[in-house]
Subunit: 343 residues, 4 copies
């Protein structure tokens, strides 16, 4: 079986694995108080062109979102998200479990937020009988694979600052966004585009790991406590440092995104050529397309991909995902088989 | 510097690291739905001599405790712990953050619970104006390094069953307990000694990982949801499976405990010989002793160990910890230096 | 000024006030363990034609909803509500603060739930990465003044039972529903229409007070603890008993609804006659209509009513509410003035 | 039966009841946005000699404590209390349910806090692996009936300010403290003695009601939201205003305390004269004494009082409480009967 099911099907990028092997017997302090973690912080700060940011590493995505959001909000405050936002749908209510409502904007085809849709949420939450919107959450690329432009994020961030909202960007697949042909945002731009950025490594070649970057230092507070009390402080914290240290050497993080996107593009091209309908256009490592149930059946003997939802009686929305580990030969084989089946 | 600071200073046991290397490019399903995870479940069931238990893997200790405890308790229910219990002191209120009071038993020198001290807590919580005690938590070895006997755990479990309390054992350092000269409990005994056991791997040679074992299947419910909503469901779940699979091959888990205890015993012997006072007697991989501040100063140039708390003006409680990775040559060097300094 | 702003603008119905005066110096046990509370339970059970139900009194509506919902749901479970549901919009995230997501059904003009719209929510929440829908919440009359029929509630309850959902009806204004010309449900029918009913008194002539009725006794559990831990256990509990005791004497509860509805009907008629557009048709004590901003301005010198939301540049949605205390002479005066202004 | 069981056995002080009757048909805005509430705020400010404080009314004591404490603390922060503190024992974990640990000081005979015992708690909570103590809670009079002096509170408040702790005083029975012969604190002193004071009315002649007073305005924030989201915002808020308005007319609040204390003193005297042992000496309206079980049995036919806990095989700790409503003739009758029985 060849899997395009997700971007966390394999272990770690070889550079990362080698670094773990080489450092295995060194003795370090726990909980991220080690040399490698600090080294990785420095590398990321360089990539972000930001000396003054505060960075901490966590293990997973839902964990990162719940730690960051519950760190910032008071009990009466809510976070605004797209209705397809990961925190709204796919985190088993993790944000609500910490006591906060996720307010959703109106349904938009590509799932992207705008200051206009955010404003509509603010307009109807105006007194103490309703939650107080205090934060905006979005993912780039978002949950449907769409990419934000620099202007779009700038516009949202301006709106947030005018309205006393924190702006938090979930970059679980940021490497793919950075490498996208539609992207015009450099890592070093992000410091001017949001208060907090999370840079994902789990889906970009690490065994696990997400970096939370506070550009807005006034929000840091006792973040270390917030990590610990959610059970998110890794004992062998250096594992996160070692991995991020590798990802931010020689541009590896963006290279991983490039490879993933390139593999996705090859698959996209064959879908386009064969008039497979896209749910939304994609320029990242995720493709959301509508397959006939018959096509799914024929492909499923040899290929894995995600079943998202029923489209109609005869068709289904499916997702193809590529990664640093996707082998071009497997993509080519898929293309060959796909052509064969579709004709 | 040589560190006896804790048992999570190094990476992973070589067997585990090799297994991660060998499997690195295999494609598996995420979230623990993979071959290795199931294989590890089977190995652990065999070691526990228990076909009918339910096992899930989590990443860290505080995470495991908060997921398990909040999974089982309703909002009005509390967990009973020793006053030195990890959940009571060293988890930044992680249990309370999930909404539950930690009720502590009266102070006992070695920190061990008994049905008598638990009963006193029950006796004063009798109506709806007070929390309802519903669970007993203890660690074996406990936070002061003490080891429970089979009879002691059996007695507590009987009491729990008579009083409708869940009994949950935190085995963060279970390998050390199993290997202790004071231990008379085999892994296969635990199914008759508690409702839920957590078998720790982070402190026994894994990069990270803790196994939660439900012997009492009526308590499983929607545990997978409980894991996910706390951000504790690892995307690359197979990493946990691969690691536990190695730990439960060829008795490695217990061997790791044996080595750690043996190294601790060598250090203990030199302390005993030199009349260093122990806070509590220890037969596990943790030693709690009282050092003069002068002694601490002299040793600290070359050795790391944990400062626990001030004992009096001139003396301090310190902790020495050994592990699978503690090199006997380093222990010998410490002993030599210690003798030199102490004389 | 004459107020049609809400149904909690005055003190208590004279019968209730007199009962409070008469009993003032009696000594009773606290926390609802008194004679009057038990007497009121019996009267309500008679009205419900249900010996086997469990009743408890609380102080307010948001309090009641959060106590009941958090009593029933586990951390991974969510409650389904209309998007206009009181718990979704007007309780400052009180349900989320207890850790539970409010899942909303698609937007429906009159805000009424159906098994079809509930089913759509179930259909997209199918695994442990999403919350588990476990409860259905609706108000009768609902937040837009609409009235459910017996068949509609029966249909939803059947659906709930088939799908293991608890069904909870918020009757904050139940007296108005019972007295509505569109209503075909007697109080004694409710035992077959839901698991839990809350009968509101605050908006039906009491100083305060809401009765929670568990028809499904398997859900009672430690409800007294759930009340206490949310700070909802009134010390002088007999105040609730005394008030409900009066409301359920001589059909007072329904009479109060009849008067409120009758007053609303008179106002409705004049609006209809003058082609004032209704947001939804209403047969209860709440009227939601669209006023021109000019009309609002002219009426506001003498009359109070609620501004709900902007409709367009020149028009606004407003709400008129009547109650047990609405004087017919005031209604007549309003009608006279309204005619004058509108012509 | 004559009850000395508690100070919430009757309805309301006649002045309060009369005010409720007189205002019953006035129309006011809800949720405390009314004339009487503002009038009561002004009266309390005058009594406190503090123009610049922020006041809000709530319904009950546990509710007040949980709203205030959860309003002020972030998730990693804890409140320090005496081990006998109401929030620690008798609120069914209400504080923990909002996510916060209650840290207890060492056991002190009369349950009074001191800066020394508070400091010991701070000294062992020093890093992110433990909760962060951020607030001190005490009751005056405390849960054992003891009275704080001005110097004691001043000392604690100084300590709090030096250590960045909020200081919150629970005055559920403040009227009794103010009227105590041991008291040297005037209401107008409190503004210099703490950040937040709660002035209790439920136990001082109101049907219900507690006033939260923020002397430290920097802590007010969005307190109205904090009230609403816990279900603690009373719809007919004027009921609280009307009641407090009466309590702070003509010194009624203190007069109520005086009467209660005077009645308690008469009972105390007969206990002292007959060598009934006191658990702690008392100068407030609560008496904690040790009765033989035989004595309890003899008195229980005619008198109600609280059984607190077993003292030994033959003796039991009991509590006598007096209030504004305690009739001197009943006290005299008790004294007569007591003498008869004891001799």
């Amino acid at each position: 079986m060849i899997s395009f099911n997700n971007d966390y099907s394999e272990g770690a990028h070889p550079n990362i694995l080698n670094a773990l092997i080489e450092t295995n017997f060194e003795q370090t302090d726990g909980y991220g108080e080690d040399y490698y973690t600090n080294l990785a912080y420095e590398k990321i700060k360089t990539a972000l062109n930001c000396d003054d940011c505060h960075i901490r590493f966590l293990v997973g995505g839902t964990q990162t979102n719940l730690v960051v959001i519950s760190h910032l909000l008071r009990p009466h405050q809510a976070v605004i998200s797209s209705d397809v936002g990961h925190i709204n749908v796919h985190e088993t209510g993790a944000i609500e479990v910490t006591g906060h409502k996720v307010l959703t904007t109106e349904k938009i085809k590509d799932g992207k937020l705008t200051s206009e849709t955010i404003k509509k949420v603010l307009d109807i939450h105006t007194d103490a009988h309703m939650v107080q919107p205090k934060m905006v959450y979005l993912s780039n690329p978002n949950e449907l694979g769409a990419i934000y432009t620099k202007e779009e994020l700038k516009n949202i961030y301006e709106f947030c600052k005018e309205n006393n909202l924190y702006f938090y960007i979930d970059g679980a697949r940021l490497s793919s966004a950075l490498a996208s042909e539609k992207n015009n945002i450099d890592l070093s731009d992000y410091k001017d585009l949001c208060d907090i950025l999370y840079i994902g490594a789990t889906k970009s070649g690490a065994l696990f790991g997400e970096a939370v970057v506070f550009f807005n230092l006034s929000l840091v507070g006792d973040f270390q406590y917030s990590i610990k009390l959610r059970g998110a402080l890794l004992a062998k914290g250096r594992l996160l440092g070692i991995q991020f240290n590798e990802l931010f050497k020689n541009n590896l993080f963006v290279e991983i995104g490039k490879h993933a996107n390139k593999m996705a593009k090859k698959i996209k091209d064959i879908f386009v050529k064969n008039n497979i309908p896209f749910v939304v256009d994609s320029y990242s490592n995720q493709l959301f397309v509508i397959f006939s149930n018959e096509l799914i059946k024929k492909l499923s003997d040899k290929y894995k991909f995600s079943i998202i939802e029923k489209y109609d009686e005869n068709n289904t929305v499916v997702r193809f995902v590529t990664s640093w580990a996707t082998k071009e030969e497997n993509v080519d084989e898929f293309i060959k088989d796909f052509k064969e089946i579709i004709k």
